[in-house]
Symmetry: C2
Subunit: 402 residues, 2 copies
């Protein structure tokens, strides 16, 4: 029996495992950014003690926990030292030491998600091979060693670094053989057929066991071409009921094939012309495309992850709180000097509008395109909500305080 | 200009006062219990830095803040020392040093609510005189010095200590001259005509200025006779639209007469037979009868209080998230030994039911009838929600861990 289960079970012998909370349940989180911060907001309600490790001393979670450890998340020894004695540990970023987590698992710490799944997702090449092996629809691809011939799939082709990319970084579209591309010793990559994308969709799925798996409704992502970062997420996606069912079936297929435990964001493409839906990539954690669940759904993605971590029944994923939601990121303005003190322009006015919910991440400095927060808009009418989101997006900015 | 306003205005000269958040906005809270804790959950979203003072080293807020000060809330010097340098300060308990807050006000700290209003509410005698002076409907009463003649209003009569009572403590119903009553040097009290109560109602009202005041819909309170503590709060109250309007008008009359700034719970009686609605008493803070606003309303009472404190526009109070809500407290079981480690029985099962939202307060020990948390139930049908609340109330218990 893992640490946490035995802790819970030891409280009192009973069929229903009474819940103790407080110092009896110690959850560790690798990463102390906004995702950990929003999880802490929900953990407070369950009196679960969340302890945090992050490389930055003033990470957004640093002051919201009884134990904050500054450390390198990719250092196996540091991760093992942080997690020893915890009941369970989870992540809010995929760039963490898998050997460190494996060592903790051997010590009886419940690790969510499983270290092998984090390793799989850390490598876009392994992800693609996994999709292929399990007949999960995905764009045609070829794996490529550093400095290899990039013409395998013809042009245009998308070159993705196998490791370390995020938010559009580590992705290049090559129009022809002369296009600038990643190279050098770290440039092991996936070459992927360039899909003619009609929509980018995402399904956040939570799986506690084969018998307790829940998919949120698919959302639709709109990217900002400036920073190649998601700028507008809309729920529900404007797709047919059949397409929704396909998205959720695909997400379910992925987690079942992996025997995944935890929360997973499954990003998908809807192909123009063919109408084919295929998996783009996975994120083994709470995700930007699930932030709207806080205001729209009966259970938020953060509450859901906590339930998996604590082995509590998953919550209702229905959009009971609002028929439609849209989410915009608050990014650092392109012109701010890196490391400036942030100033949120337009927030006061946004707060005066019904159905507008800002979430600032508590970052002490702003840089161009840095994610400083997000704002969720909810309402009964999808078009009105999208309109409101665009208005808010145009009027709220994170600039540098003078 | 008060500290916070100048801080905000100094960030950048502009009509709209851009919001800085983070260390630029330092809010102090006197009291580190569940109300402060739930306010911190909302403050995280506004990146407002909340600092806390509480007499107990392991208060529910102790580990959720950058600065926690252990101290006596009734000690003027301690309160002044805690609050010096803050932009604003608020309370989550009315038993605080008013002279300490007045000293802070003189130093330019924005104090919400005003010290004079806290002083008024700390004394039930002054409260009653205030109602009388401003023609605010309330039960007939007489003030009484310690050991005075209690027969002024005949019998039965309710004796309430003027100071220090809470959750039914400091209140006695005297059937006749021989009934046991409060006496001795601290027994200055209010004698109040015993109202034949049809319903106990409550309106939480938030007032940022004369031009920005919002009342939540009246709720209905059901008391548990064992501990004389509210056990079930239902929103909306089952009263007529005219009665609702009377309740809200009464709450508005109270805050306008006081020129109150902050959040105020106005507890009321609906008298049997006459149908008359009268004010019972006031609480100058977030209140048990407003907890359901977290899950039912567009803006929670905690978010609302923060908006007043930060001088941001008040949020929408409509029940946009659910048509009906009911709230039950999780109290320490009558049989637990005082100071036991808590164990929450039935919570796991409750979490498996849609529409059930537990909030544990993170108290490290349980005692009989101690408020350990609350659970809110929401849904479309009021009767079904009340039924679910009763089910949950019967099945969830806070006992002692073995």
């Amino acid at each position: 029996m893992s640490g946490i289960l035995s802790t819970l079970a030891n409280c009192l012998p009973s069929r229903e495992k009474p819940y103790c909370g407080g110092p009896s349940v110690r959850i560790g989180v690798l990463g102390g950014g906004q995702l950990g911060r929003m999880m802490i907001q929900d953990a407070i309600d369950l009196d679960a003690r969340v302890e945090v490790m992050d490389p930055s001393a003033d990470a957004p979670c640093a002051h919201l926990t009884q134990r904050f450890v500054q450390g390198n998340l990719l250092d196996a020894k540091a991760v093992e030292a942080f997690g020893t004695g915890l009941d369970c540990i989870t992540i809010e970023i995929e760039g963490v030491s898998v050997p460190g987590l494996e060592a903790l698992e051997r010590k009886g710490v419940r690790v969510v998600p499983k270290p092998a799944h984090i390793a799989l997702i850390q490598d876009k090449g392994l992800q693609k091979q996994f999709f292929q092996k399990h007949n999960i629809a995905t764009a045609p691809f070829a794996l490529q060693m550093a400095n290899g011939d990039r013409s395998a799939l013809g042009y245009p082709v998308v070159q993705k670094l196998r490791r370390g990319g995020y938010d559009g970084k580590g992705v290049a579209v090559l129009k022809d053989a002369s296009s600038s591309h990643f190279e050098g010793k770290d440039a092991h990559c996936v070459l992927e057929k360039k899909i003619d994308i009609e929509k980018e969709l995402s399904v956040v799925v939570c799986r506690r066991s084969a018998y307790d798996t829940k998919c949120y409704e698919p959302t639709e992502c709109v990217f900002d071409p400036r920073g190649n970062v998601v700028q507008l997420i809309v729920s529900p996606a404007s797709i047919t009921p059949e397409q929704k069912a396909t998205c959720n079936a695909l997400a379910k297929q992925v987690v079942d094939a992996m025997d995944y435990i935890g929360i997973l964001a499954v990003e998908m493409f809807l192909e123009k012309g063919t109408g084919k839906i295929m998996v783009n990539e996975l994120a083994p954690r709470a995700h930007n495309s699930g932030h709207h669940t806080i205001e729209q759904c009966a259970t938020s993605q953060f509450g859901q992850l906590l339930r998996v971590v604590l082995d509590l029944p998953l919550g209702d994923v229905s959009p009971t709180r609002a028929k439609a939601a849209a989410m915009v990121n608050i990014l650092g303005s392109p012109s701010v000097a890196k490391g400036s003190k942030p100033l949120y322009r337009g927030l006061r006015e946004a707060l005066g509008k019904p159905g507008v919910y800002p979430h600032l991440y508590g970052k002490s400095t702003v840089s161009p395109f840095r994610k400083m927060g997000h704002i969720t808009m909810v309402g009964d009418d999808r078009d009105e909500v999208v309109e409101l989101a665009k208005e808010v997006l145009a009027s709220v900015a994170c600039e540098a305080a003078p």
